[in-house]
């Protein structure tokens, strides 16, 4: 299963809160895609600590895509 959260245009820390709620529901191997206006550096710290695999890219239109896979 793959879940997408569009956090663009939301005031911090709302996108962060939505991401944390979605991560709590994710089962092993499932994916979460985040669409954001900027790179969520503090979120990476939590993802690394909790063992989530994650990758990111900045699209041509400036949207930041974060792909997270649950451990």
């Amino acid at each position: 299963m793959s879940v997408t959260i569009d956090g663009r245009g939301l005031e911090p820390p709302k996108p962060f809160e939505l991401a944390m709620e979605a991560l709590a529901d994710l089962k092993a191997g499932e994916e979460l895609m985040l669409l954001l206006d900027r790179m969520p550096w503090p979120l990476f710290r939590i993802l690394d600590r909790e063992g989530y695999r994650h990758s990111n890219r900045i699209r041509d239109d400036g949207v930041v895509e974060i792909r997270i896979v649950a451990p």
């Binding site: 245009g9 939301l10 005031e11 911090p12 820390p13 962060f16 944390m20 206006d37 900027r38 790179m39 550096w41 503090p42 990476f44 710290r45 939590i46 690394d48 600590r49 695999r53 994650h54 990758s55 990111n56 890219r57 400036g62």
Partner: protein, 420 residues
């Protein structure tokens, strides 16, 4: 499989106390400025009296620079993905030096005490060198392609130049160094408000205005070229001032004023396009800040054509208290609750909603006090009334004490959440 090519050392992420110590002592300097004005309301009559210089530096160094330094320790990791190595011990030292140095500088300037000025030079010079060294290492790790890290580098350099000029001036006053006082003073003022504070405000605004005020991004040409153009114009203006080319210096000063006005007008226009239905306290503070900045720039221009003493004083009040202090207070009201929430969440503590950490009502009320203080300061400077000057002093002291009280509400909520 993190893939941005960044070097992000999570273990080095600063504690909440790292920026917080700067944010909590800074308002005390605002309170001190208010009390000084209450005791000596005639300080608003001339900008070059010892008391007026003390008042200006209580605000510029004690309040503004403290917040700026504290914010940079946390902005780099949060918005630029760059950690400041050994942030906690460095911040402790820089904070102690900056706080003692700001107090010593104001005392030295106000009381005409050379020994305090020399102590301020040592304290501010050492703490700022520590700070610059730390953030230079952090900025080296930031992705160069982004406008914010590049402009933060320029702002750090601008602040360094302003401080170097200021410390030299302090030594001219304290030990009679044979250097041209008026030229140094002109350069110090230009670099401090535009090369340091202005560039830092712009570099942070590129990120925090769209992020917290839900506006579109700043136009790409502005974020790409504004800081470079401003820095370049400041360098050429400095050359003209040093060479004694008054005509060229005036023309370049007009260019710098136009660049500052462009930033303020663009920010106001972006705020008009905010997706927020009702402007919150921070948005209001930014609107007041940008409008005051524009009015201050108009007073600067008026001062070039009119010999009336009030213009430069009104410009100083509008730019320092109306412009920078408004925006800084607005930013503190976003940054402090956000950092409290972030640190609780990162540490696995269930964090209250940011609106619960700091509701909007006390923020709005404090900002009304800030607006009243600004209006009274302007009325006192324009009229020369000692009574209004005293009232302005009381309002400034109340405003900054209230700011501190609001920030302490966040700290208490943070501690409660940790203890739960």
């Amino acid at each position: 499989m993190s893939g941005a090519g960044h070097a992000f050392s999570y273990d080095a992420a600063p504690a909440f106390s790292t920026p917080l110590r700067f944010f909590l002592t800074a308002p005390l300097f605002g309170v001190a400025a208010g009390l000084l004005l209450l005791a000596a309301p005639e300080l608003l009559a001339s900008r070059w009296t010892p008391g007026a210089l003390a008042l200006t530096h209580l605000m510029a160094v004690g309040f503004m620079l403290s917040v700026m330094v504290g914010a940079l320790f946390q902005i780099l990791p949060v918005v630029a993905g760059a950690e400041v190595p050994r942030a906690r011990p460095l911040a402790t030292l820089a904070h102690a030096g900056l706080t003692a140095g700001a107090a010593s500088l104001s005392l030295g300037l106000g009381a005409g005490a050379p020994d305090f000025l020399v102590a301020a030079v040592a304290l501010l010079g050492t703490s700022f060198a520590l700070f610059l060294g730390a953030i230079a290492r952090g900025l080296r790790r930031a992705p160069i392609a982004q406008a914010t890290p590049r402009d933060l580098r320029l702002a750090a350099a601008g602040l360094g130049i302003a401080l170097l000029l200021g410390l030299t001036l302090a030594m001219v006053l304290a030990r009679g160094l044979p250097l041209p006082l008026v030229t140094l003073l002109e350069l110090h003022v230009g670099w401090a408000w535009l090369g340091g504070a202005g560039l830092l405000l712009a570099a942070t605004s590129w990120v925090v205005v769209p992020m917290f005020q839900i506006t579109p991004s700043y136009p790409a040409p502005l974020t790409r070229y504004w800081a470079l153009a401003t820095c370049g114009a400041l360098v050429v203006w400095s050359g003209a001032v040093l060479a004694g080319q008054a005509g060229a210096a005036l023309l370049l000063a007009a260019v710098l004023i136009a660049l500052a006005a462009l930033f303020a007008v663009t920010t106001l226009r972006l705020q008009q396009r905010s997706r927020r239905s009702t402007p919150d306290g921070t948005t209001r503070a930014f609107q007041l800040g940008m409008t005051s900045l524009l009015a201050g720039l108009a007073c600067l221009l008026a001062g070039h054509w009119s010999a009336h003493d009030a213009w430069p004083i009104l410009a100083g009040i509008l730019i320092l208290h109306g412009g920078f202090a408004s925006v800084i207070q607005g930013m503190l009201y976003k940054i402090v609750p956000f950092l409290a929430w972030l640190h609780l969440t990162q540490d696995g503590v269930r964090a209250p909603n940011v609106k619960k950490l700091l509701p909007d009502t006390p923020v709005r009320r404090q900002l009304v006090a800030h607006g009243a203080a600004l209006a009274t300061l302007l009325a006192a400077a324009a009229s020369g009334s000692a009574g209004l000057g005293r009232l302005a002093g009381i309002l400034v002291a109340v405003e900054f004490a209230w700011l501190l009280a609001n920030l302490m509400c966040v700290v208490r909520a943070y501690r409660r959440a940790r203890a739960a």
